[in-house]
Assembly symmetry: C2
Homo-oligomer: 495 residues x 2
């Protein structure tokens, strides 16, 4: 086979693979937003039929022949990047025996139900043996993937290609010390802020949520907003959909979920059109993805300038809701509460939640912690980092679905996203000096243009860390995030 025709055949094959993956994404979207309740079983048959085919396509033996026949010197840089990603995925998938992959799929889908029951009954023991089984299978998988190297790295590679545990541990443990200190100071300040009063109707919240999505650059011609139990963004290229949820007592839940998902969605929508339906046409990693949702949600969306704009808009729509002025509103939006749940946490505590999980799951994967001791380890660490004890397992070790579905190595990408967002924000302030003047008017265009130019359009062309490095000019560290948090919360809590 000629090298060029091998590339053509390979990339054509992977257009179909990509399309099938996107179809699977649409089925999941539909399942969470539109699917009639009675068709859950039928849907799982669909998903399994489609996944069987996708797997066959991704592991088609012709891929090895095409890869062998390709002469990389004759490829454009974009083609070469496409081949690099295809080859990496193919090699990893070929290493995992299909019997192990099937077993993982079966066991995790059962374990999720067991986890849900355990959480409902607030009893970790109910979940213990299912978690052990999932962990054991993931360790087996990590072992074949790592081939003698670090097990945790092999799993991390699924979500943050190129990132290694030692480097990650340095970044995250640096963060931890600073955050524990900052959290304690804020908690000791004794300062409290009022809460919102009133009823915030679904229609009015949806109106503002749609305005916010537009303001943060969401392209409605290539997406749509729906409602789901847990907000999410899904899809890529020209069909990137977001969801939100409405609590009629707490409009911030809806508004900041929407901004967060728009951050993910504008990233996908902003990828260069020429990369659509190639392996390059999606966000490059979980960490970089999360940086895009977090910078919009927190650094920009929870800034004094933007919350001033939001305060006026909310007064306009809802009338008086018990907050006297924009300064107080800013403090209310950012206040740190005594809580237990990661997904509800403020900017300080959020990362402490993640670091706890990161440290525990590394010990589990490396065999330094047994599942039987996990609850105790969780509770001890929580008390040590947060200063108060976990009151029940559903507020502790049972709160997240991730481990039940086998997501080990995923948690740290949340904090990595925050660290990247810290880096990007520092550079953005330099490159766009008028940023806060704009945000006071609800105008995010300059910030978005900067993100599109420096991050979005590249898709998966560069390695994740290089994507950030090229945007900020150096290797990312946690220092800018920590400095930002200290300054912001120092001012809010008069530390």
């Amino acid at each position: 086979m000629k090298p060029k025709s091998a590339y053509t055949a390979l990339s054509k094959h992977f257009r179909d693979v990509t399309a099938l993956g996107q179809i699977s994404g649409l089925l999941s979207w539909d399942q969470e937003t539109k699917m009639p309740s009675g068709s859950a079983l039928q849907r799982s048959e669909w998903m399994s039929a489609l996944e069987k085919l996708c797997h066959a396509q991704r592991t088609d033996p012709r891929i090895a022949d095409w890869l062998d026949a390709i002469d990389e010197d004759n490829l454009s840089s974009v083609e070469a990047a496409n081949v690099r990603l295809i080859s990496r995925q193919f090699e990893r998938q070929s290493r995992v025996p299909s019997s192990l992959a099937a077993q993982i799929a079966r066991v995790t889908s059962q374990a999720q139900g067991i986890w849900a029951r355990a959480r409902e009954n607030d009893d970790f023991k109910v979940f213990q043996s299912a978690l052990s089984e999932v962990l054991d299978l993931r360790r087996q998988e990590a072992a074949v993937l790592a081939d003698g190297d670090n097990l945790y790295d092999a799993l991390l590679e699924n979500y943050e290609p190129g990132m290694k545990e030692p480097e990650l541990a340095v970044m995250l443990s640096g963060l931890r010390k600073g955050l524990i200190d900052l959290r304690a100071k804020v908690a000791d300040s004794g300062i409290e802020f009022p809460t919102l009063q009133g009823h915030f109707s679904r229609e009015q919240q949806t109106l503002i949520a749609r305005e916010l999505a537009t303001a943060f650059g969401y392209n409605w011609d290539r997406g749509r907003l729906d409602f789901s139990v847990h907000p999410f963004s899904s899809g890529s290229f020209n069909d990137v959909r977001i969801t939100t949820r409405v609590s009629e007592k707490d409009p911030f839940n809806c508004f900041y979920s929407t901004i967060h998902e728009v951050g993910h969605a504008t990233y996908e929508q902003g990828i260069d059109q020429s990369m659509g339906l190639t392996m390059l046409g999606r966000g490059v990693s979980m960490g970089v993805h999360e940086s895009q949702s977090r910078i919009l949600e927190n650094q920009i969306g929870r800034s004094r300038a933007f919350t001033g704009f939001l305060f006026n808009r909310m007064r306009n729509v809802f009338g008086d809701f018990g907050i006297a002025n924009a300064d107080t509103f800013y403090r209310v939006v950012n206040k740190m509460d005594r809580g237990f749940i990661r997904t509800e946490a403020d900017e300080i505590q959020y990362n402490l939640h993640v670091l706890l999980r990161f440290d525990l799951e590394r010990q589990l994967i490396e065999g330094n912690l047994e599942v039987v001791d996990l609850e105790e380890a969780w509770n001890a660490r929580f008390l040590s980092d947060f200063g108060y004890p976990v009151d029940k397992p559903s507020n502790g070790v049972l709160q997240d679905v991730h481990w039940s579905v086998g997501l080990f190595g995923y948690f740290p990408t949340y904090s990595l996203g925050n660290i990247y967002a810290g880096e990007l924000y520092e550079k953005l302030l330099v490159d766009v000096p008028e940023l806060h003047a704009d945000l006071g008017l609800g105008d995010t265009r300059a910030a978005l243009t900067w993100l599109r130019t420096n991050i979005h359009r590249h898709g998966s062309f560069y390695e994740p860390r290089d994507t950030i490095k090229r945007a900020v000019g150096h290797r990312p560290t946690s220092a800018p995030l920590l400095a930002y948090l200290k300054s912001k919360f120092g001012e809010i809590y008069k530390l």
Copy 2:
């Protein structure tokens, strides 16, 4: 291979094939109801990737081996029916060269766009050569399928398995004579009815449409209602969705579209659960499907008894809308207008529209009519059957999308559906004597139970004609439909 394990392998394979086909159906539903406008091209890539896989699965050479190895004597009757349908589909698909199938797919997808432009410009010549090409390809396909037999039968087999042209022509031409006569009498009666006055809001129409869907047995746990340009029903088994549309001046459009689609949907929802994800788990033919939508829409939904119920409900929701009483309302719902468009036609003229298309498309397929002469032939036939001339091509030969996408042999199934509905209704009146008393209260339960028992639950287990024959006790003819129409319109128009 053991016969039993061959059946197991075959039916397992076709569970996946069925699931993939249902996924494709969901993508089409999404495209018509939810898809962002900007992702049309991406969606067509998805559809083509999925269709490529489906085709490979449906023509997998192992199917021939499995079919060969099966010992039919060892199968249950349900298993044997499943094998019969699989074998028929496999044999037909294997006969069509994949190059011809690909060419048909490509040409019809282009021809649809050309047809739309021609209709917009009201110029048949724009469409002429594209239609010739589509027709030529379908004739080629029919020739390989017919293998020396009747070409039209080979196409008909796609939509109404087992039905042959001669039998169909007898049924339909008997209908034509009676309908031309009835149409002329109604037109000459000089009787006219008032039209609805007022504004019928989207919210209020949707409220009543949902009530109607519930009243006609739609299972909301296994379906949902959305809006689309053209109403349709899609999906099967436990996920059967319907759409409707709203014109704020004409609530009947929304209400009767909804009832029509609920007819299709309750059929799919009513199929025996054990047949789900087998070849038996869907409506057996287009004609039988249409009988289920038509009997609910017309014989039941446009009956004096049910319109009396609807009149009261509409008065309750909309107030006075210019119709004095339920008797007049019944006449307004059923009135025959001087029109050109099939989809807007009353019960009399609808079938005349279909018969016109049936006769013309048979001549096209058999080579007795050239595309260049089609417009003239259409106009002459319309004048002869309807008594007034076609005023422009978009009201004539260009009004339907069907031929542009290669649907030859499909039109007659609409009238066949009406004929079947006529037969079923005659039997229903005998078996459920309290029917009209129930319908006056908006209660369709006895009718639905009868349809579920006699039609729905069987899915594709029996041949289409046998499905009807078993329900009514004899071979279906057009006599009951004609008698029903003569009696109904004779009374309304005092003939």
